[in-house]
Assembly symmetry: C2
Homo-oligomer: 330 residues x 2
C-alpha cells in the first residue's frame, strides 16, 4: 500500500485545508495511507478518530514561511517540509505533497531525494486548460530561470513521459515555445534546442503562446523564466476580462439580469480555469514523486495533489524518464 | 502641414481598408496630407474626388507578401513598403504607416531611415489594455529575439519617452518584466538590466506578467522573444475564455437569454481588447516615426495608426530619446 508524506503546515491557511483535503482523498481512495508532518497537538484535533489509523503524525513545529529564503530551508532540518521530504529520501514514504514554500520544496527535493540519472535540472510542470476540454502540460514554470538547449531537451522528454505514463495519453505531442511556428523562428537557445528535441518522436516543432490554450500539443517546453511570465500573464488576462465584465455589469440593470442567468456559464468557466481542479504541479526529474501545491490550496486542490502523487508513484514515470534520456543521449 | 506616407497595398485585404482608413483620418484631421504608395489604377478608383487633392499617389506595383523573407525586401526597391519608407528617408514625408510585412517594414526602416544616435536596436512597442481603462506600453514585442542588458535599458528609455511625449502621460512608471517582483528575481540578462534601468527616474523595478493588465506601470520592458510569446498568450487566453463561454451557452437556453442581455457587456469588452482601437505598433529608435499596423487592419485600425504617426511626428520624441540616451550614458 502506498504511503504519501504531506507537509501539513506549509500552506498559507495552516493545517486546516490540508488535513481536510487529505481526509477527502482517503475517503475516495482506500489504497494509501499518509504521514502528516506538523504540530501533533494542532493536527490531532483536526483528524476524525475514524481516520487516525490511516494518518500517522510526524511531530515537528518549525515551518518555513513564504518570506524565508529557499537556501535557509537546507539548514532548517526540523522544518515540516524538510522532514516530509526526508521521509521519501529514507524510503518511509513513496511520494510527498507540499503546499509550502515552493522554492524550498524544490531545492530540498533536488538535494535530499536527488535527481534521476541523466537529468541535469528538475522542472516544475503545470496543466493549463484548453478550449477543447483537454489540458496542456507546460514546463518549466519556475524552477530554472536560465536554461540551455540541453535543459529544454530534457524538459521535453520528462514532460512527454509524464503525460504518457501518468495522464495516460498515447503518443503525446510536444511543442517548443517560440515566437513563431516556422523552424527558423526562435532565440539562440531555442534554435539549438529545436535540433535536440527533433530526435524524440511526436515533436510538433515550434508553437506559439496561443497554442497552449488551443490544445495544439500535449506538452509545451520553455525555460522557467518565460514559464513563470506566461502563467502570470494568463492569470492577468483572465482576471482583467472578469473585472471588465463586472465593471460593465454595474452600469446596467439589464446586464445584471443577464449575469444572473449567465451565472452557471461563469461557474463552468471557473471550473475550467481553476487550478484546484488540477491539484499541484509535479516536480519532474527527482527520484521520487514530489507534488508542489499552491500555497492557497483549498481542500479540493490538496485532494487532487494527493491523487497526482499516487498516480505518479504507481506509474513507471521515473524509470521511463531515465531510460529515455539514456536512449537519446546514446 | 504634415505629410504621411502609407503603404496602400501591403495589408492582408489589399488597398480597400487602407484607403478607407486614410480617408476617415483625413475627414477627422485637416492638418495633414498623404502619399499613398501602390497601384495607381487600383487606388484612384478607391479615392473619392473630394480627397484627391490631399492624397498624392506614388505608383508602383510590387508588393512584399507575408510569405516573402524580410531580407528579400532590401532588394525589392520597387515594392510599396520600400518606396513608402524612402519617401521618409529623402524627406518627402514626415512619417510612414505600413500594414504590410512587419519584418520587412522593420528592417527597411532601420537600414534606410537609420537609427537614432545612441540606439543600438529599434524596438516594436504595443499598447495592452488594463482593467483600469488605461493602457500599458509593452516593448519589445518582436523586433529583437536575443537582447542584452543594454538593449533592455534602451527599450526602457524609449518606451518611457514615447509614453510621455506622444501619449502625454506625466512621469510614466517603467517596469522590467521578470519572474517575481523582488530585486533578486530575474534571469542573468534582466538582473544586469535592472542595474542599468535603475539610473532612470520612475523605475518601478521588476513586474510580473499580471501587472501588464493591472496597469501597475505605464511601460513594461522585455526582449522581443518574450514579448511575442506574451502577446500570443494574452490573445490565446481571451479567445479560450470566449470559446468556453460560447460552448456553455449552447448547453442552456436560459444562458442564451442571459447572453442576449449580456451582449452590450461583451461589446464593451471587445472594444477594450480590440487592437483596432490602438491602431498600430510604433517602431521606436529610428529617425522618423514608423507605425507598423496589423496585416488584418480594418479602416479604424488604419485611421488610428495614422493618428499615431501624426502624434509622433508632431512631438519631440526622437530628439528626446537621443538626449536621454546621451545623458544616461554620460
Amino acid at each position: 500500500m502506498l504511503k504519501i508524506a504531506i507537509d501539513a503546515m506549509g500552506g498559507d491557511f495552516g493545517p486546516g485545508p490540508i488535513i481536510d483535503g487529505l481526509i477527502a482523498a482517503l475517503k475516495m481512495n482506500n489504497n494509501f495511507t499518509a504521514i502528516a508532518v506538523g504540530d501533533k497537538n494542532k493536527l490531532e484535533e483536526l483528524i476524525p478518530s475514524y481516520y487516525k489509523n490511516r494518518i500517522e503524525i510526524l511531530h515537528t513545529e518549525d515551518v518555513i514561511s513564504m518570506s524565508d529564503s529557499a537556501t535557509d530551508a537546507l539548514k532548517r532540518k526540523e522544518s515540516t517540509i524538510y522532514k516530509a521530504i526526508d521521509l521519501v529520501k529514507e524510503g518511509s514514504a513513496d511520494a510527498v505533497v507540499s503546499a509550502g514554500h515552493s522554492g524550498a520544496s524544490m531545492s530540498l527535493a533536488t538535494l535530499r531525494i536527488g535527481r534521476i540519472k541523466g537529468v541535469s535540472r528538475p522542472a516544475i510542470a503545470t496543466l493549463m486548460p484548453t478550449s477543447e476540454n483537454q489540458n496542456t502540460l507546460v514546463l518549466d514554470v519556475g524552477a530554472n530561470v536560465d536554461c540551455d538547449a540541453k535543459n529544454l531537451f530534457e524538459f521535453a522528454v520528462m514532460g512527454q513521459t509524464y503525460v504518457r505514463d501518468v495522464l495516460q495519453i498515447d503518443e503525446p505531442l510536444v511543442g517548443l515555445l517560440s515566437n513563431g511556428e516556422e523552424e527558423s523562428k526562435g532565440n539562440e537557445v531555442t534554435k539549438e534546442a529545436y535540433k535536440l528535441i527533433s530526435k524524440i518522436p511526436n515533436f510538433a516543432g515550434n508553437v506559439e503562446g496561443s497554442d497552449i490554450f488551443k490544445g495544439t500539443v500535449d506538452v509545451v517546453v520553455c525555460d522557467g523564466f518565460i514559464g513563470n511570465i506566461l502563467l502570470k500573464t494568463a492569470e492577468g488576462v483572465a482576471d482583467t476580462i472578469g473585472k471588465i465584465i463586472k465593471k460593465n455589469l454595474k452600469r446596467s440593470l439589464i446586464s445584471i439580469a443577464g449575469a444572473v442567468l449567465m451565472r452557471k456559464v461563469f461557474k463552468n468557466l471557473k471550473v475550467r480555469v481553476d487550478y484546484a481542479e488540477y491539484g499541484g504541479a509535479p516536480l519532474l526529474g527527482v527520484k521520487a514523486p514530489v507534488i508542489i501545491a499552491h500555497g492557497k490550496s483549498n481542500p479540493k486542490a490538496i485532494q487532487n495533489a494527493i491523487f497526482q502523487a499516487i498516480n505518479s508513484a504507481s506509474s513507471n514515470l521515473n524509470h521511463d524518464i531515465e531510460e529515455k534520456l539514456k536512449h537519446y543521449s546514446a
